[in-house]
Amino acid sequence: MIRLAFMTRPGRHRRLVSTVFVSVMTIVAAGPSGAQEPDPLIKLDANSKFAVELILDSAKVEKLPTQPLMSRALEGIAKKADGKKIVDAVRKELGYLRTARSVLGGVPDDELTAAAGVIEVGAKPAQLAAFRTRHKDRNDLAAFTYWADLITRGVPPEDASSAIAKLWQDGADDATFYSLWKSVNSDILQGLNPGAALQNRIRESPGRAPTSKTPPEGPQEPKSL
């Protein structure tokens, strides 16, 4: 073990060492917790930063989530987007969140963000109305996510909206939405018209999620052993 010479001397040197040690430890201990978190928007020019902060304040006042707004700003910074473009994107996001809130009311932040994403890609606010009725133990994240993707891939917004809303009302689960999305996506990649791909697949899609334990009515074929 290394011992510095002044550490071995009695009296005031020990006190001096103790004082220095305590001071340093205090600084070190206070450092991480007392240090200011770096401003994530510091890389924005002053005008853009001010504009984004105003938008964030507006969201707070309206009790809208600020995380998706900040995320949109940080995404722009990471991708070296122009300050004006970043402000524009954050402002639009606030608008989508407002619209989604006005239709859906009080839903969890992540669902509100996903709903805003659907409006962003071209769905009409009224088409969100089907999701206003809340279902216990059901989460509409998957529905919103695949809905937004289908529109992004070229499925007409009306077709995508009515298909997703119908499935939701019929009680489809996440796996059903995923299966539909995967099939349509596959057809589109093979060259099928996006609208036609959705129409074809929605016909094959089960109208109701297989959650019912009631046996189907009508004659049943005997099981072969």
């Binding site: 340093v24 600084i27 722009g76 990471a78 994403g117 996510t145 937004a148 992004t152």
Partner: protein, 429 residues
Amino acid sequence: MNERKVAKLVMTLALLVPAPRGLAAQLVSKVEAGQYSVSDGVLPLSAIRFAPTIQFELPRATFMARGAALLSDQQLQLADGIVSGTFTSPTVYGVRAEMIGNASRALDDRSLGTDQVDVQTRVHVLFHQHGGLWFGGGVARPWRVAVISSADVTDAGLWAKVGNAAAKFGGATMTATFTNFSFNKIASVHDTGSASLSCASIPSTMSSTSGGIRALFSEVSSGGACERQSRFGDLEGTLHWEWSTVELTAQTGYRFGDSYDVTADSRRWSSATATIWLTDRVAFVGGGGRQPALPLRGLPSRTFGMAGLELAFLPISKGAVPVSLPHAILVKSFEVRPGATGTQKIVIHVGGVETVDVMGDFSDWSPLTLVRRGRDLWELSVPVSPGMHRINVRVDGGPWMAPPGLPTVHGGYGGDVGLMIVGEDRSGH
């Protein structure tokens, strides 16, 4: 300033240096084990070779330690060991600088070894992402060999890449290099025809050596050797071809220099190695050929053959070829699996690239570098809260793109982003 004040100042400053936040470091390793046969008259004719490697990577620096041991006649013999550090600058307008430092020891019998420290800088220039060139220079300082001065090393190279591992006929990278060595070495007074012999400047610090130069040192002891300025250049061509799970590397070279510096058995050489990936982490490796003498290491030329297994995977050396590839088609798959509490393991399959990064709202859009776990397997565990997250991926510092297999939306900043759903107790798709 007295000793106490200096000590206090150093202690205080050392404690005040903040730990790097979000250090994107990764540790990778591999082990090779196999049968190795060689005919150089010094190493055992046939042995089992173990060659563990460990590498620590930072965004702009890589530190590596590697060793090799031979098991022959039930005795384990160290063959060589190296520690290495590489620092790279960001690529600006297709130009990248690199600094490499190595310290190594090579043992060509059970007791004697040669040491070397070398430092080299390189400048890489990329052309259209399918080719480029580099040039550089450095200094190598060997010990306990016939070379008794620092060696000036200059090198330049060209590379070109066609196709990629996923293409119908795979991808090939062709590299041509020329490396020039200039140094002073011990020569026998019986060497004639050399204009640069000096018989008055043999240093007295030489103590021991190995291999085929013992005779020379005997001459030194008896005043029968001279110091000689030596120079030779290696022209080398390499072809590396990858297709599916197969990799082939063939190398050939020619050494320029007069007959006093280049022995006949090191004038030409060639070798080939095949790697067949059995799984993401295990490969069969086989090969053979001839290697030239390495005067700076005191190693004679040798003919070798080897067959063995490679476990795990070491990333492509950043200093080797600054490969930068077209990006969009390379990412084969993307998965998110539940990890330890509160974390998700991001798993990406993409081959033939140096780095894979992701970023998203879960990282406040700061890039996170994945760790290479297999031939084309990249992983990273990262805290991600349940819910929907926007995510991008990139390879080799290229453009950000949506990972395959995820729903996507237009990002608003040019390019798509993926939408990743993370459940309470399950992964996203």
